[in-house]
Symmetry: C2
Subunit: 246 residues, 2 copies
């Protein structure tokens, strides 16, 4: 039987999953999709994801790929898979791709979005998909200035939660950080080639501290190469993987 390679574009609310990556005895997004694909295609399926999103982190444009010997049409797989998946996972696209395509290895870049709710009023409908800050004054200009200093190619050890892993190359390239205020929503869009563990949440946490008036020197933080120099990570619920570029 001829093997085909199928690419998926996936949306999910991460709240009720232990992250993307399959784990024993835990409900994960990868595990959930693989399980249904395996039943649907009558063989064990391994789904490679572009990004191992953490527990509570969401996606509107995660990508994955899997090999199958099934000759089912992509539209049939698309429809049947969406019928089986729970309310918080949705397959946006199913597409046959060349056999050597790999969702993670071939990714040229990723766009993450972090959403902060700046209001006294707690957003009861969105508590799982945005980060509620409360009613705080934000200095947008300082945040934008700091964002400009984070953009580019740097050693991002200070923003990574696995800073202890000395063997890993910590140099990454951030293409753009756009900060948009749509009161009461503050949106931080981060686009880069690839990211260290929890790096986006570390960057957003540091930018927000600066926005709240803390005097933090980005070039000095980058130079320190120590996680303690930057501010704390923002919580997972505000973060969404928007798009993977190829």
């Amino acid at each position: 039987m001829e093997t085909r390679n199928i690419k998926l574009v996936i949306a999910y609310k991460g709240t009720h999953y232990h992250g993307w990556q399959i784990q024993k005895d835990k409900i994960t997004v990868q595990g959930e999709i693989q399980k249904h694909l395996s039943v649907l295609l009558n063989h064990g399926v391994v789904l490679f994801g572009a990004s191992r999103t953490d527990a509570g982190v969401h996606a509107l444009g995660q990508t994955g790929n899997f090999h199958t010997t099934s000759q089912k049409e992509t539209e049939v797989i698309h429809h049947a898979l969406n019928k089986r998946l729970p309310v918080d996972i949705y397959i946006k696209k199913v597409q046959e791709v060349p056999l050597d395509f790999h969702a993670r290895k071939n990714a040229q870049g990723k766009h993450y979005q972090y959403r902060i709710w700046i209001s006294k009023e707690k957003p009861v409908f969105e508590s799982e998909t945005i980060y509620w800050l409360g009613d705080k004054k934000i200095d947008l200009e300082s945040m934008i200035t700091a964002a400009r200093q984070i953009e580019g190619t740097h050693d991002f050890t200070s923003f990574a939660s696995n800073a202890g892993r000395k063997d890993e190359n910590k140099i990454r390239t951030i293409d753009t950080i756009a900060i948009t205020e749509r009161y009461p929503l503050l949106v931080i869009d981060v686009t880069g080639v690839s990211f260290l563990y929890k790096m986006v949440r570390g960057i957003c946490g540091t930018l927000l501290e600066i926005g709240r008036g803390k005097s933090l020197d980005i070039p000095a933080i980058l130079k320190d190469r120590a996680r303690g120099s930057a501010a704390r990570n923002l919580p997972p619920q505000g973060l969404t993987l928007m798009k993977v570029f190829y």
Copy 2:
């Protein structure tokens, strides 16, 4: 000690509650707020709510009132109560009112909103707060025409889920039904003096069937005074109590 009467304006996502009304061994919105108020004020509190919203139904403007002998300032109660409440309940307003005010008995009207998501794409972030219809063609004009026929004072037995209760007066007054398309969102705003059990969901279900092309005669349905004449209720997650008028 002098007794005071305190009015609350309350927002909640109803997904994780067995409705508003307190029930033995069930987590309810009324039960949750009463529990925290009782601890906060050092005496048992009974919270009267304006509307007994069903399991899964939300509120952005539910109202309630309770009597207390505590002399704590309303701002103190407001702040302390919000600190204690879970992420999906928020007190918008705390206000001292005359002793004879009763949240339900004094209500002059209520505004409910039903939100329908008309798109092929499943809304993974909002699956608990809107009703996902899928990608269907909707005849908005027919819905608006039917809505005009529902407005006014009628016997609404055909739209009530407790139609069997013969002792209850089933005559109610609907002030306005506004239907707004904000693609992919279809919003039905229903304002009336008071409502029978599940009446808004019955009305919205009937309007949606008409929008999807079913030929349903509203005057005939009203005249029938039988629940089977109208279409099925829409599910709870699309419904929100927006405001109670006094």
